[in-house]
Amino acid sequence: MAIDLKTVKHISKLARISVNDEKAKKLEKDLNLIFKWIEQLNELNTDKVEPLTSIAETTLRLRKDKILSENIRDEILKNSPNDNKDYFVVPKVLE
């Protein structure tokens, strides 16, 4: 199935990546090329196949509920794009 420009804009909205019209047209072309190629998977009948969800066939381990790193607030804030030393600051969300 073909991906049209409207769909490209919708996906870019979902992916939170703004694209201008020129870029959207390029993406439309590329994505159609890629999905046309991907659709060869439809040749296979997989009705009775169980999906492979994880290559490691084990359940996740549990560990003791104890704190492994303490007092690392400054470290965590170190790479913040905003200068505030106490919080991550973002543009106003509520008016």
């Binding site: 992916a15 939170r16 993406l27 090329l33 890629i34 969800t53 490691a56 170190k78 543009p91």
Partner: protein
Amino acid sequence: MSNITDLSLNELVDNVKSKKISSKEITNAYVERSKKSNKLNTYIEQTFDSAIKNSEKFDKSPNLEKKLPGIPFAVKDLFCTKGIKTTASSKILENFIPTYESTITQNLWDAGAILLGKLNCDEFAMGSSNETSYFGNVISPISDNLVPGGSSGGSASALAAKLTPATIGTDTGGSIRQPASFTGTVGLKPTYGSCSRYGIVAFASSLDQAGPMTRNVKDCSLLLEVMSSFDHKDSTSVDFKRPNYCLDLNKNIKGKKIGIPKEYRVDGMPKEIDKLWEKGKEYLKDCGAEIVDISLPHTNYALPTYYIVAPAEASSNLARYDGVKYGLRADGENLIDMYEKTRSQGFGEEVKRRIMIGTYVLSSGYYDAYYLKAQKVRKLIKNDFDDVFKKVDAILTPSTPSSAFKVGEKSNDPVSMYLNDIFTVPVNLAGLPGISIPAGLDKNNYPLGLQIIGKPFDEQNILNIAYSMEEKINFKLNIKDWWIK
């Protein structure tokens, strides 16, 4: 004595242990050579001064019990290094300084190794030619304007140019084995769960594995021994008894059954690759192994499966780059606008393309048609391998369907670029170990590699097979220093 940078990793270790060469002499030699390598564009970050200081520190009280005593290493810039910029070759992480260390690099430093710098790669490891890096293309030391492969292109190029005695890469669909093949070096992708993913910038978590890239098979086994460890910090790390890969390395492969999958003979593959593959079979027979014709019927579906699974996981992993806690932040009129502008400005074209593919295949109404379908085909691909491994001990294939190509040659056609990984991707989808070793040259004198695929956690076996073949192939990488300025 010959030039320090001509020695293999194992030779360097032996020389340090017998006190014939100091860590500082080795580090100096690599720093000097690396300083002249700008033309190759392998380094994103150079830590030469601290490397030399660390080598002096090592020499003052050398611990010669270590596996990599005072050996300098440049590593792919996908591994987080505490206090040292880690970019994943992306603008969005251009100024990111991790406050923690990846387990793999920590294992290296614990073994006595010293950081030389961080190496260029495809942005977020998404690429097969190192042309998607925000920091520019990497050039192969083999020829001007030739790509080193990708995504561990900086690692392969630095290794082949002898800017580092050995290095580490990551492999999601072939990102260690394909560049190793393109540059005449050895690269191994371990079994999923063998090497910790903690602190590696995530691309596709069910496929990503770190692995060694070296000049020969013995070095590869030594480095794997250091890298592979059980790690509580990686929930998919597997707790198994790890052999001493280097100590146990041997050439006794008599009676081993090696499978030759007919599906790996693809249209348009250069004759030289077919010839090398045939030669490989002869070498194995000479070593006493038995050649068995096998079939992996779903091979052709591996790449399209990969291009659903990997982008889907990537779109979810890369959702964290939103300009809030770290990384680039663009100004926006409101929060959503800030997200959209940050991600639009911070990611390169290929990364955006893959996030878009992933978002689409996971979006409402398309999940079953694409993502679920791909997971089912992935199961069929894994079943193919499970079936043949009842009959054979390992599989021999070419590493890539072609030799290295020129910069720009494939960058306008995403599908033709993706086809580079046709022989390596099935191994990631099935979580298996695979090693690429140099096997010969094509008509342009560009290297070509052969790949040996093993059963899960059977790295020792494929290393032994590679070690036996390496002796017979006797490949010599003859790289001129044309790039030294």
